[in-house]
């Protein structure tokens, strides 16, 4: 399989009922996944959800407890890593410390006895703009440079399936954007299948054709980035992929094509086609940028959900947009993003406001949001600041 030729094109990957148990811990739970040949597939999930384990299973570095793995239609479940037409960009880079950069990059080509290994390795290094460091050792490179070498070392083999384990994590923002574009164009150019693991939702959405959101060893939802973003199916996806305002309550009425939910006395209408469940307790939501702030009470309108009045308790300006947090009694805090079309924020802290959004922008989830409101009900700025700090800290820890 790993013969002396480059893969002509990508191969599709199929995971059937994959399960992975470590002693006393189940890392992957019954995973079924099909990645079409030539696609750029992102596996997105928080730290510890089993992304690396999934890649290791595909690469053959870990044995599945149950299930089959097929690459290009061939069952590779029982083959060794060196027999699989797969290369990995490791999260830890794993560059060979006793070899120069060029020797590292040419390693895979040499093993497969491919002609002009050094020439091709230089070519791959030029692609990641590191050819001038070809004679150095990995220890003499910065973290970001090592990561690019790891990328070159895998890509140079033109594997039918390339596995990338958070390959851009150590790069600064500018280089990361540049590498994202670079990776995307390499993938399009050579038509290989990329399985890209990341915990950065923006990266997943900008690069991938298909995104799978993973949580606790399971794939929660899978689809094109736009679809996933516009129509999240679970509370986890709604909050992991961007932000969401979620409300839980019983369905109190059903019309031809919509359901209306009673949330603490407020009526929220969601199209049936965008709701996973149509009866009982349901969680519905809307994205912050779909919400509009009003300083005077608007007239109720069909086709619009209106909540309020509430008070703006936090305004944070971020250049292109401003994030407002509006506390509405009984509903907790609602996040609103508004484009900065005028000069400065629309409203200041403490202003009485109403929030509205079009019915067709709402969505209904298949599970319930955790009962706990995201902010304590007597939200004051101090507790928000604390929440934000905690969120930031946990994010830093993950990174």
């Amino acid at each position: 399989m790993a013969g002396g030729v480059f893969a002509e094109s990508g191969a599709d990957l199929e995971l059937v009922g994959i399960q992975k148990r470590f002693p006393g811990f189940t890392a992957i739970e019954g995973m079924d996944l099909t990645i079409p040949a030539g696609s750029f597939f992102a596996l997105l999930g928080p730290s510890g959800c089993g992304k690396t384990t999934t890649l290791r299973l595909v690469a053959g570095l870990e044995e599945a407890t149950a299930g089959r793995i097929l690459i290009g239609g061939k069952d590779v479940t029982d083959t060794k890593p060196y027999q699989r037409p797969v290369n990995t960009v490791f999260q830890s880079y794993a560059l060979f410390p006793h070899m120069t950069i060029i020797e590292n990059v040419a390693f895979g080509l040499r093993r497969r006895k491919i002609a002009d290994a050094t020439g091709k390795a230089h070519e791959a290094l030029r692609l990641v703009e590191l050819d001038h460091l070809a004679a150095r050792r990995p220890q003499q490179l910065s973290g970001g440079q090592q990561q690019r070498v790891a990328l070159a070392r895998a890509i140079v083999n033109r594997p039918a399936l390339l596995l990338l384990d958070e390959p851009l994590g150590a790069l600064d923002l500018k280089l990361r954007r540049q590498m994202q574009l670079e990776l995307k164009s390499i993938q399009e150019e050579v038509g290989l299948t990329f399985l890209h693991v990341t915990h950065d939702q923006e990266e997943a959405m900008t690069m991938a054709d298909t995104v799978a959101v993973m949580n606790k060893g399971k794939i929660e939802q899978l689809g094109a980035p736009e679809v996933l973003y516009e129509l999240p199916r679970t509370a986890f996806v709604a909050n992991f992929l961007g932000q969401s305002n979620l409300f839980t309550g019983p369905v109190e009425g059903t019309t031809g094509d919509s359901i209306s939910v009673n949330v603490e006395g407020n009526r929220i209408v969601v199209p049936k086609s965008r709701a996973q469940r149509h009866s009982g307790e349901v969680t519905v939501g809307a994205r912050p940028e779909k919400l509009t702030l009003h300083v005077t009470e608007p007239k109720p309108e069909a086709g619009t959900n209106l909540l309020g009045p509430g008070r703006v308790i936090d305004v944070s300006f971020s250049g292109v947009s401003t994030q407002y947090i509006v506390a509405i009694p009984g509903l907790g805090s609602i996040v609103v993003f508004a484009q900065n079309m005028g000069v400065g924020p629309l409203v200041g802290e403490g202003t009485e406001t109403w929030v509205s959004w079009k019915v067709e922008h709402g969505f209904g989830l298949e599970d319930e949001a955790p009962r706990q409101p995201r902010f304590s009900s007597d939200t004051d700025t101090a507790s928000i600041a604390l929440e934000k700090k905690r969120a930031l800290m946990s994010e830093l820890e993950e990174a």
């Binding site: 060979f96 410390p97 390693f107």
Partner: protein
């Protein structure tokens, strides 16, 4: 020199700011003094003894200071078989010790890495023989391999050995004893480097189409080279000068005499001090030359990343 190899591939550090402090010199003084008294002075005595001439009367054990360069030619002519045999035995024993110790060290350092209790137990087993004098252990082997031993009678009973053959007193038993006695010196430095071997490199190798043997040859072996080099030096140098295993009182015979035994008998039995001294200097210089060649090879030809040895 050999010990610096334990610190494998130490990242190049910035040179410390040079400051000559009086305290540092003071702290160095005992060491320097020790070296002068116990190394330089005896070395000087050895060099002068090797050049002494017999007294005019020719009394046994009586020599006068002189400049008898001819002593070297005499001992070289007389004992070259024993000198060559020493290096031959030592080389073979080193190779055997390496072949035995590498898998052992790899097993302890890598395979049972996630079971610290077992790992420590195995390490203790490697070191445990040190708790008993190696004279006693070699003696024990002598009786286990002697003609009256169970092993030999069993082998003879099964006709696997000729009735008049022996194990002790043969090159086999001497090399066996050398190998056995120096195995911990080979195993421990190998363990020290393999213990730090990051198995993620092996996974990366496997991911890049390297079969297990190729992964071993291209990744594991080069990364453990500093341990191999220190183990080889720590085994080869003392084994070449060893006079216990090859002695007739232990595992050796008349045909297995090594240079250590010759020095021993020249010094204590024949009381030919200049010959013993000249042989010692020859042994020392030969080892020094071999070691330098070995290190140069490992740094410049095999490129094992042990520049720290120079």
């Amino acid at each position: 020199m050999a010990f610096s190899a334990f610190a494998s591939a130490a990242p190049a550090q910035e040179p410390a700011p040079k400051r000559r402090s009086k305290i540092a010199l003071l702290l160095l003084a005992p060491g320097v003094l020790y070296l002068v008294i116990f190394f330089l002075v005896p070395l000087f005595t050895l060099v002068t003894t090797a050049l002494q001439a017999p007294t005019a009367s020719g009394d046994i054990g009586q020599y006068v200071p002189g400049f008898e360069i001819g002593n070297y030619a005499t001992v070289l002519a007389q004992y070259s078989p024993q000198i060559l045999r020493s290096f031959g035995y030592s080389l073979v024993a080193t190779v055997f010790a390496l072949l035995f110790s590498y898998p052992l060290a790899y097993f302890i350092a890598v395979k049972v890495r996630h079971r610290p209790l077992l790992q420590n137990l195995l390490l203790v087993l490697v070191i445990a023989p040190f708790f008993i004098s190696f004279l006693l252990r070699t003696m024990a082997w002598k009786s286990m391999l002697s003609d009256e031993s169970f092993l030999v009678s069993a082998l003879k009973g099964l006709s696997l050995m000729a009735p008049d053959a022996h194990i002790t007193g043969t090159p086999f038993s001497v090399i066996f004893g050398l190998t056995y006695n120096f195995i911990p010196f080979m195993t421990l430095p190998l363990y020290a480097v393999l213990e730090r071997l990051d198995t993620r490199y092996l996974e990366a190798g496997s991911d890049l189409y390297a079969r297990p043997f190729t992964t071993f040859r291209t990744i594991t072996l080069p990364l453990s080279a500093p341990g191999i080099i220190s183990g080889v030096l720590l085994t080869f140098i003392p084994a070449a000068g060893d006079y216990v295993n090859a002695s007739r009182q232990f595992l050796g015979g008349t045909g297995t005499t090594m240079i250590g035994n010759v020095i021993d008998s020249n010094f204590f039995d024949l009381q030919n001090y200049p010959a013993a001294a000249a042989l010692s200097i020859i042994l020392m210089s030969a080892i020094l030359v071999l070691v330098i060649v070995y290190i140069l090879l490992s740094v410049y030809v095999w490129k094992t990343g042990t520049e720290g040895l120079l």
